[in-house]
């Protein structure tokens, strides 16, 4: 580094141009979906606490499990679990999209758009399907 600094001129000491970040790009569907994939992954990271709570409650005994069931059945609990299940399914479908890209397929403009739409529509539909099945598994309308 010493020889570099010795040879530094006024021009070379000017701040170097930085690569542009998110804000300079036009919003596109694939761009937004890329963000969604990261955000859902980030949410699922902390959502794992819910899985740990569920398993530890079951392992701890009936009282701890009843407390977890009370939370899961509450309005906030259901909202959190609905969001968790959607994030999980969305991240899973987004991951499959990435695996398709890893095989060097699906990069054409129309294919990219189709994959992005399939991820968002598919994740919402599958989440609803899972909740309807869950609703009937719990006994359906009573």
């Amino acid at each position: 580094m010493a020889e570099l600094e010795a040879g530094a001129t006024a021009a070379s000491r000017r701040p170097r141009p930085l690569s542009p970040h998110l804000q300079v790009y036009k919003m596109t569907l694939t761009f937004v979906m890329s963000g969604f994939h990261r955000i859902t992954g980030f949410a699922l990271y902390f959502g794992m606490v819910l899985v740990a709570w569920w398993l530890l409650a079951a392992a701890s005994g009936p009282n701890a499990y009843a407390y977890f069931e009370w939370f899961a059945g509450s309005l906030i609990g259901r909202l959190v679990l609905f969001g968790y299940s959607w994030a999980l399914i969305h991240h899973m479908l987004g991951g499959i999209r990435h695996l398709i890209w890893d095989t060097e397929h699906g990069f054409e403009p129309a294919e990219r758009e189709l994959l992005a739409m399939a991820t968002i529509v598919g994740s919402i539909l599958l989440t609803l399907v899972v909740w309807v099945i869950g609703y009937f598994a719990m006994g359906g309308p009573r």
């Binding site: 020889e3 990261r38 992954g41 980030f42 699922l44 990271y45 794992m48 606490v49 899985v51 740990a52 398993l55 530890l56 079951a58 392992a59 005994g61 009936p62 499990y65 009843a66 299940s85 999980l88 899973m92 991951g95 499959i96 990435h98 695996l99 890893d102 899972v130 099945i133 869950g134 598994a137 719990m138 006994g139």
Partner: protein, 130 residues
């Protein structure tokens, strides 16, 4: 450039200079755990639906049965590693201050081990009924 520097190959000079200071190992591991994760997540969703609204005794019996317990353990360990890599990637992308980055990477590791082992412990306890 000094003679000593010229002894190194072009690859040797740039290796480790990326944001994560390592190679493509975690990239590949993230793919392996994502493929496994698809199958395991579907299996866990089925298990959770099957246990909805069941009594505590039933839940304990099902979660402690060998096949369900093994699926749950595979899910936990696989997803713990997957999310450890994932958050590390987010940290090295956005946290540039050295000390804060170090602290974040440590916190990531501690969190993943704590949550992961909590789940593993719970499944062992459910399986062996101690």
């Amino acid at each position: 450039m000094s003679e000593r520097a010229q002894m190194r190959t072009a690859l040797g000079r740039v290796r480790g200079l990326g944001a994560a200071h390592s190679g493509t190992g975690t990239f590949w591991h993230q793919r392996v755990t994502s493929v496994a994760g698809v199958a395991l997540t579907i299996a866990v969703i089925v298990i959770v639906i099957a246990l909805l609204g069941r009594s505590h005794a039933t839940v304990v019996q099902v979660l402690g049965s060998p096949i369900v317990a093994i699926i749950m353990l595979l899910f936990i360990v696989n997803m713990a590693y997957h999310m450890w890599i994932g958050l590390q990637e987010i940290i090295v992308d956005y946290v540039h201050e050295d000390l804060l980055k170090l602290a974040s990477l440590l916190a990531n590791t501690f969190y993943v081990f704590t949550v992961g082992f909590a789940c593993v412990y719970a499944i062992f306890k459910l399986s062996f009924g101690v």
